[in-house]
Symmetry: C3
């Protein structure tokens, strides 16, 4: 099989709206990042690359993922918008070995997405986008973030795991006085607190901020994270948390928005 893994198939596809080739690790990461929140999603293709916006069933967390065309080995598409069973897609792309290339071709006659790995073709039936939950248009302008932090992902990961041991909720915030980013969770007997001072942060735009979040969503986001050295957080007072980081050598970008919980009492 040659590098693009497509060969004779191109001639057979009829009207091709879409034909892209990408390496296994990139597509596996892409699927995992969205799968953290949803089982099915919209995929938008245009000349710049792909975009995947999604919102979890409880409408607490949203994700917006973009993967620029530079991440692809081949990228030929007209604008396209499809609905996908993400769990099924994850099982399929999970079969590829490290370093293998996968090709995706949309067969406009059958309305199936033909996924090719080696000499294997999996024709995945698509979902009618009208039936897949659509997140509201996500624009950051709506949220008045007061502070921004870039921290080592390991610190945040450990804070979320530890908070999960004592509580269902965690407060994330910025302490302007102490010039630090913090996370706090209180349990019946135990407490967890993270306090990362400015000189330990990769980047820091301090501003008073604190909001309470359900830990389940932060754990899901943390579990899906690839070996990312740093993660960017934007916070405010009782407003959503934005979690952003690049992947696929910078060609991809993921942003999660997690709504805060209204603190009881």
């Amino acid at each position: 099989m040659d590098e693009t893994g497509t060969r004779a198939r191109q001639a057979d596809a009829g009207d091709q709206l879409l034909h892209v080739v990408v390496d296994a690790e990139t597509i596996q990461t892409t699927v995992a990042l969205v799968d953290a929140l949803v089982d099915e999603c919209h995929l938008y293709f245009d000349e710049d690359g792909i975009r995947i916006p999604a919102m979890d069933p409880a409408t607490v967390a949203a994700v917006n993922l973009t993967l620029g065309r530079s991440a692809f080995e081949a990228y030929e598409t007209e604008d396209a918008h499809i609905g996908v069973d993400l769990s099924r897609l994850g099982d399929i792309v999970g079969m590829a070995d490290r370093g293998q290339l996968l090709s995706f071709t949309l067969d406009s006659e059958t309305r199936k997405l033909e996924i090719r790995i080696g000499e294997l073709t999996y024709a995945l039936a698509l979902l009618d986008p009208g039936t897949v939950r659509s997140p509201p248009e996500a624009t950051d302008v709506e949220f008045e973030f007061t502070g921004s932090v870039v921290t080592e992902s390991g610190e945040l990961s450990r804070a979320v795991k530890a908070a999960d041991m004592v509580s269902n909720h965690v407060t994330l915030g910025i302490d302007e006085e102490r010039d630090s980013f913090y996370a706090e969770a209180t349990g019946d007997t135990d407490d967890v607190s993270l306090a990362v001072p400015a000189d330990e942060l990769v980047d820091f735009s301090p501003g008073d901020a604190h909001s309470l979040f359900s830990i389940d969503y932060l754990r899901a986001i943390d579990r899906a994270m690839p070996k990312t050295p740093e993660v960017n957080l934007e916070l405010g007072i009782d407003i959503p948390l934005a979690v952003r980081y690049p992947f696929a050598d910078g060609a991809g970008s993921v942003e999660y928005l997690v709504s805060p919980r209204i603190a009881a009492n």
Copy 2:
């Protein structure tokens, strides 16, 4: 412990019908290959080596494994025929570390198989061969294979995994016109197809062939396969599939015969 791991035991064994020594990886692979189909089996020892014929309880698939005496560090036996609890044998040999040698001695008085790993001896009670299912004499002359293929095991493995995602059955065949080996499975919404052209096959004797198989057996056979680069398949029209490949650096050979399903409608 010296390399053979047997020392004083040999003097104690009484009438030895059988005494062989083999490395952990070889015996662990041997057991796994047969365990894919059955929980108990016959073992035949003669001057050439061992032979293990078995048939699964549903009499759909059969395996015939041979391991030549060259695979053994020591091989002293008269002709012998024993019945073994394969699950138990697997647990025992699984305790040996990579590179360790195991010695097997048949104690004719106790009718137990003494398995030695290091300074540990496990005396395994044997099964009366008369109570263990015996496969019919398997001779390939019965089947009119029309085609033969040697393909990279990764391609077949992925095809079986993918087919398992959409259906209980998969059709394997040779397309004489397109000069290729193929696998196809159809589900409610999704389809899977593998098409390996002649120039991608390690070896190819084309001839029209197609049969439908239950995926469960192919998955079991695939899971038991060690890191084998290539696998030989023999097919025909609505006749069993033969899957063959060597192991233990060529000293071992395994052949599975999987009966076809009669296609409904």
Copy 3:
């Protein structure tokens, strides 16, 4: 974060009875060794280091672990005695990465143990020592060990795993005539026996010994063992078994005492 990981916290702690810093692997091993028998335990701190004595709920097995101050990166403490939920402590220290340092500070005001990993602080509520089971004062003088063995841990480990396949009990002993250390277990159909002759033992003080033990405890002790090359056993006739070995490059020492079962009939 500097090496000790403590910085500003020291100033905040109020009356510090205790402040120690230790690497992840050492504390994770320490917790695992005691967790093999109990869910909660006493920790004693003095100028020499820490001591953890514990007895399992069924009062069959006891452990006495010591970890000298040389195992710590920093060790500042007055004599202290605290009660700890060991399962919870295991989850906490399990979050540290290989090579990371953890600091433990006892906050005398809150009576919580503040555990610091990176910039994360977990305040663990302690248990009232009066409510935690206390093992009787363990002194070896009470037991008349007749023999002592130092064997490769792999041999003992395999013997325990194998015995567990055939029986709930295993006899450990020393055969003075054959000058060997042995283990034997008898099942309904299968038998297991280990026989390590003197020249295969790292050290050997022979003396007639044999006792019957419940395998569950030996399995738990075996599972908790780090990559220890050798283990020291002391045995007698129908008296407890002592299992001892060093860890943390010799700074730590663990001893288990497992009571024998009175053989039925």
